[in-house]
């Protein structure tokens, strides 16, 4: 294979485009293989700069880089950050765009170097035929663990990527993930039909994070602990919750009992401008404490988050490792605190059931489909409309839609009826749902067992993902004797002054003057 870019000075490119002087572990190795035209699987811990592994190649290679990403907000964040770094020929194509916006991007695909797309978008024929006319130099699959049926976040559309890559004339593939056990890694290679992918797997453990679990009786005790800790430490904090309501409620209580702190909430129900300002205030140290659902933090690279608190524990250890990994990216001492009440276990269980349809719901869907078929009708095009029609959560419908297509019951929006086939499909779906439920339940079981473990938390946490872990730099974990009293993180003394609107207006319009005076 001829490769034009074999001899470039990667460090020089890194300085030029990203204003960075050194690569983080794994980045250079992966980029080198990508530039050599190899198919690569990269497993790198959260916060180690996975996206640089394709952003730098996208800049230096001829042709177009396509990145498939399951999270729309994440891809929009990345596009914003790249544009802020003067990488302008970048775009994210997703369901938030209007028809006109999409068309205007489609007309000028050749002008872009890097295109982020949702997996759903890649199912559209018009789009694929436009891509076929482009010179595609790299096909990237972000969050590649979504490919694996047995992974913790299976995305049906991901399992059809191999066919799409085929139709795009087989460009080199880069699959990236932060959490992929060996089974999942193997699944990725098989599903993409690339058994000889070069694997770069780096450990996910973080030696500057101390793990702490506190058993409590109820929410009141959680609040008490939160108030104590937050009033003691002046450090950037993220607190994770499992629901929007809890997020907002605790934000309100904390804000009123800690008036000196700037505390805000963040969740997927907020509109775009709200999310952007909260995120940027946090990056900019205008907010001390973010109360958030798991929607917050992806793609956020704030170096000095000292404390990540779980008010509710996540559905699986993979999520926990990702969320905790947002702390202490600057390498300084940081703590993960998980507050655990026995009764919390009911919450993840109900969340899991909400992700998959029950057999009753499945039967209702089949009945409704049959009625539609008899009326020679079809299903709504939009995901949310279809979900509403069948009385399902969108996530449940997405799962089912894919399965119904696989069984030949749905073709685009039209319904194909064969009595025998429907019966068979119904039975096999019941089994599949049961299977998926069991996987999720066993993942949940794993995290609950870990929480209740009496051995070293660090050792037990990483057991499934890697063979060893590096020695902690600071205190190890609550089971190894960590106590909050001894923790003295780097902290900033900050006060928020009230100012009149006239002064604030002046500061906004004359930022220069303000800075001089402040100095």
């Amino acid at each position: 294979m001829i490769c034009m870019v074999v001899n470039i000075d990667l460090e020089k490119q890194l300085r030029k485009y990203f204003k960075l002087t050194t690569f983080r572990p794994g980045q250079k190795e992966i980029i080198q293989d990508v530039l050599d035209g190899k198919d690569v699987l990269g497993v790198l811990p959260t916060g180690s700069g996975k996206s640089l592994c394709y952003q730098l190649p996208a800049r230096v290679m001829d042709g177009l880089t396509i990145v498939v990403s399951p999270l729309i907000s994440l891809m929009m964040d990345q596009v914003k950050q790249l544009k802020a770094r003067q990488f302008k020929d970048v775009v994210a194509i997703n369901s938030f765009m209007t028809y006109e916006e999409k068309q205007s991007v489609f007309c000028q695909l050749h002008l872009y170097k890097l295109i982020y797309v949702s997996p759903e978008q890649l199912q559209q024929r018009e789009f694929i035929s436009l891509l076929q006319k482009q010179n595609i130099s790299l096909f990237v699959i972000d969050e590649a663990h979504c490919i694996s049926q047995w992974g913790h976040e299976f995305r049906p559309d991901y399992s059809r990527l191999d066919a799409i890559i085929d139709r795009l004339n087989d460009p080199p593939v880069l699959a990236l993930s932060a959490t992929a056990t060996e089974d999942v890694q193997e699944d990725i290679a098989i599903s993409l039909n690339r058994p000889h992918m070069v694997k770069h797997v780096y450990p996910t453990d973080r030696n500057n994070i101390t793990f702490c679990i506190k058993q409590v009786n109820d929410d009141q005790e959680k609040m008490h602990i939160l108030k104590n800790i937050l009033s003691k430490y002046k450090v950037p904090v993220i607190i994770y919750f499992s629901s929007r309501q809890a997020t907002e409620k605790v934000t309100r209580i904390l804000a009123s009992s800690l008036p000196d702190k700037s505390i805000a909430s963040y969740h997927g129900g907020m509109d775009q401008m709200e999310r952007t300002v909260i995120q940027q205030q946090f990056m900019n140290d205008q907010i001390d404490v973010i109360c958030s659902t798991s929607a917050f933090g992806m793609g956020i690279d704030k170096p000095n988050i000292r404390l990540v608190i779980h008010y509710h524990f996540p559905l699986q250890l993979e999520d926990y490792i990702q969320e905790v990994g947002r702390a202490g990216r600057d390498g300084k001492s940081s703590v993960s605190l998980l507050l655990y009440a026995k009764k919390d276990e009911a919450i993840p269980l109900s969340l899991i059931h909400k992700q998959l349809p029950t057999t009753d719901e499945l039967l209702t869907v089949f009945n409704k489909l049959y009625q539609l078929y008899q009326r020679q009708s079809s299903i709504p095009k939009k995901e949310e409309d279809a979900a509403a029609l069948f009385d399902l959560e969108e996530i449940q419908w997405r799962f089912l839609h894919f399965q119904l297509e696989c069984h030949g019951i749905l073709r685009d929006t039209s319904i194909v009826y064969h009595a025998r086939n429907w019966e068979k499909a119904y039975d096999s779906l019941c089994n599949l749902i049961e299977q998926r439920l069991n996987i999720k339940k066993s993942k949940l079981h794993d995290i609950i067992r870990w929480i209740n473990d009496t051995e070293c938390l660090r050792k037990q946490l990483y057991r499934k993902f890697q063979n060893t872990y590096s020695k902690p730099i600071f205190s190890c974990c609550s089971n190894c004797g960590f106590n909050f009293a001894e923790w003295q993180p780097d902290s900033a003394n900050k006060t928020y002054k009230q100012e009149t609107w006239q002064r604030r207006l002046k500061h906004i319009f004359h930022p220069g003057d303000h800075n001089e005076k402040a100095e």
Binding site: Q81, M97, V277, Q281, W501, I508, G512
Partner: protein, 359 residues
């Protein structure tokens, strides 16, 4: 309490004539002829679309609160009436919310565009002043970003001057509001390394509902737009943010076609046949036209005597319910004629000027 106060105000106007969801549609700014007609008839155009994101649940919760407070009485058929005294004292208690700011219908197209353009322009200028070009824009909407981009390029040679003018104009226009309202507005702006507050943060800071912050922000924008439009010379720079936006036209293309044919002397029946539409659809179009056009030739459809009869019936019924009015006029008068009279008088009935001269 702002949303509640506004709901009470709307209830006072619409009671006994409409169901409670008419108020919901009004506040959401539903683009239907019925809602538009209601806004005019009940003189509530100022509250049209002041909370586009309002959820039915939230609205119902506020209505239920008002029912519990014994201010609104909700019947089983979702019609309702208001206990006047309780409503009055409720409104007085919450008078610190500036109800007179609102001008919803007039600025239905303008409010969001004005605010987002301003926010993004200020953030862009503040950052470029500091030679800081790697900031994260707080507004994403492509229509807004491309407008700001074009404007920014067009004014390239005079950014300093532009920034200064914007500053002075904003300071001037904001000082015509209460300090609290000026503060809420300024807190939303972002600058250099300085991001504005979210709706949620303002709600916490002022201890009011998030919905109230959204409505208040809209009210403030309406007030600013009123001032800016009133003295375009004085607020030249701020006016450039909105000069390309025209007020909403609530006439559908289809109604427009009907209007054109009628003006070419086609009869209603001809139009229906020609356009292959039902007569009733053509009636709807003509009512739409009547609502939108002060020059609407009502005399072609209703005689002077019938018009007076209809107005008397409305006053007697104390309601705009078509059925109630129909019962009080002679049988020859049609629903269509009643709707037309309501449309052209647009809620002026009872306010005095109905009797002056013209009628």
């Amino acid at each position: 309490m702002l949303l509640k106060t506004i709901i009470v105000t709307c209830c006072l106007q619409m009671q006994k004539s409409r169901t409670i969801s008419a108020i919901y549609h009004l506040l959401k700014g539903k683009r239907s002829i019925q809602t538009f007609q209601d806004a005019h008839i009940f003189q509530l155009t100022c509250y049209f679309g002041i909370c586009k994101s309002l959820k039915k649940q939230t609205f119902n919760k506020h209505v239920n609160d008002l029912v519990k407070m014994n201010i609104v009485v909700l019947n089983k058929d979702s019609s309702f009436y208001v206990r006047d005294q309780a409503a009055d004292s409720f409104k007085k208690k919450h008078h610190f919310f500036p109800l007179n700011y609102f001008n919803g219908l007039r600025y239905a197209n303008t409010t969001d565009t004005f605010f987002y353009r301003l926010v993004l322009l200020v953030q862009t200028l503040a950052n470029s002043q500091m030679n800081h070009f790697s900031f994260i824009p707080v507004v994403d909407d492509r229509k807004i970003t491309s407008w700001v981009k074009t404007f920014y390029k067009r004014t390239a040679s005079k950014h300093d001057m532009l920034m200064n003018r914007l500053y002075l104009e904003l300071k001037d226009v904001l000082s015509q509001l209460s300090d609290r309202d000026a503060d809420v507005f300024v807190q939303r702006l972002s600058g250099y390394n300085n991001y504005g507050k979210s709706i949620g943060q303002l709600a916490a800071a002022y201890n009011i509902d998030q919905t109230d912050v959204i409505i208040l922000m809209n009210g403030i924008c309406h007030r600013l737009l009123d001032i800016i439009h009133y003295d375009k010379k004085r607020y030249k720079t701020l006016y450039t943010l909105v000069e390309d936006i025209s007020p909403p036209v609530f006439i559908t293309d289809s109604a427009q076609k009907t209007k054109r044919l009628i003006l070419h002397n086609y009869t209603i029946e001809d139009v229906a046949k020609y356009r292959n539409l039902k007569i009733n659809t053509i009636y709807d179009h003509i009512v739409e036209w009547a609502l939108n056009d002060n020059q609407f030739p009502i005399e072609n459809y209703v005689t002077d005597a019938d018009r007076k009869a209809i107005i008397r019936a409305i006053q007697k019924a104390q309601s705009f319910k078509l059925k109630d009015i129909k019962q009080l006029v002679h049988d020859d008068i049609t629903y269509f004629q009643i709707r037309l009279v309501i449309a052209v008088t647009k809620g002026k009935i009872g306010s005095g000027d109905m009797y002056g001269g013209k009628y």
